[in-house]
């Protein structure tokens, strides 16, 4: 349900970047969303469709790249992909609580059209 709040924040960033780069229409937005982020991609896309109506990003395609969960062992520094939500080092069994990836919620790029003749 908080996808609506996230969609609103996303729109703010897109509007801000559009102004900065002189874009009059946004065609595509690329996002990275970690698999451990509490966000449902379909829900975010749906909410974005709603909040972006009548804005520069109306009708823009949202492309989402899912990022896997990786963690680093506190003891032996081994980095690994977390399986089945077990944050324990597969090498030494110690807690691996340093999350290297998996909670991303980022705008990576936007594509759109400028006003000038090209």
């Amino acid at each position: 349900m908080h996808e609506l709040a996230i969609a609103e924040s996303l729109l703010e960033i897109i509007v801000d970047e559009s102004k900065r780069h002189g874009l009059e229409r946004i065609n595509k937005v690329r996002l990275q969303i970690g698999k451990f982020a509490a966000v449902v991609p379909e829900s975010l896309t749906f909410c974005f469709e709603l909040v972006s109506r009548d804005t520069v990003a109306s009708g823009a395609l949202i492309e989402i790249e899912n990022v896997g969960i990786t963690a680093r062992c506190d003891q032996c520094n081994f980095s690994f992909e977390v399986q089945d939500q077990v944050f324990l080092c597969p090498r030494c069994g110690e807690p691996a609580l340093e999350l290297l990836s998996g909670r991303e919620l980022s705008v990576m790029s936007i594509e759109g059209e400028t006003a000038e003749e090209g």
Binding site: M1, H2, A5, I6, S9, L10, E12, I13, E17, H21, L23, N27, L31, F36, A37, A38, V39, Q85, V86, F87, L88, E94, P95, L97, R103, L105, S106, V107, M108, S109, I110, E111, G112, E113, T114, A115, E116, E117, G118
Partner: protein, 238 residues
């Protein structure tokens, strides 16, 4: 018309993160220990607050920010205990965010406060994504909810430094297996502390209260250090 691609690389929640960091600075300057208390609805957040306030009032200055979709019922419950409480109504919103806390802080007199507890909206999903500026995230799981919750809501269990397992007086009447909770939480968050409590009977409260008091003490020390580093203006006048 030219079609261009602009690299952005910005965290979508950066606006909230910025405000949370401002809140945190304010808490640290005042030497206040702040917790973000989360759980599903009905797990016992407000009951925990009432019991904790009863036990610590007089020794520790406490204030509470209550988050709910509607009503000021919880803030009134807390105010009856004689501590400052401010209610935030999210009007349907499923979580608190940094900005709501920043606004609520203006309604509190923080000068005598050592411990600020923010009771989030009852929800095991959304509040996990929004930092408020707190020092610790704490969650309550009541045994009646079942021992499978860490599997179903892993992010919440992973990010909380303390898990309070409440309503342990009901254990004989449920199929909840405490060893499964401990085992599942250990996989997600091996350094997290677990306190087994009953807000109804008061069982298990002593270790929880000691933990809170210890944390409050650490943050008071920071305040004392800040005060001695920046002596009050009147001392300069003497």
């Amino acid at each position: 018309m030219t079609e261009i691609k602009v690299p952005v690389v910005r965290n979508i929640l950066q606006a909230n993160e910025r405000i949370a960091a401002e809140n945190r600075r304010r808490f640290d300057e005042a030497g206040i220990f702040v917790v973000n208390l989360m759980s599903s609805p009905g797990a016992g957040k407000t009951s925990l607050l009432e019991k904790t306030i009863d036990a610590l009032a007089g020794r520790i200055g406490i204030a509470v920010i209550e988050g709910d979709l509607q009503s000021s019922y919880d803030a009134e419950r807390i105010q009856k205990k004689g501590v400052q409480a401010v209610q935030i109504n999210t009007d349907g919103g499923c979580h608190l965010d940094g900005n709501m806390i920043q606004i609520a802080l203006d309604s509190l007199d923080l000068s005598e406060v050592d411990l600020l507890i923010i009771e989030n909206v009852g929800n095991l999903v959304c509040p996990a994504e929004f930092n408020l500026g707190e020092h610790e995230k704490i969650m309550i799981l009541s045994v009646a909810e079942g021992d499978d919750k860490p599997i179903k809501y892993p992010l919440m269990f992973q990010i909380c430094s303390v898990l309070l397992v409440n309503k342990i007086d009901l254990l004989p009447y449920t199929d909840c297996d405490m060893s499964k909770i401990r085992e599942r939480v250990a996989q997600l968050n091996a350094r997290g502390k677990i306190f087994e409590i009953s807000c109804r009977t008061g069982e298990g409260f002593a270790p929880w209260l000691s933990w809170i008091e210890e944390k409050v003490g650490e943050h008071r020390t920071t305040r004392a250090r800040n005060d001695s580093a920046h002596p009050a203006a009147d001392k300069h006048c003497q």
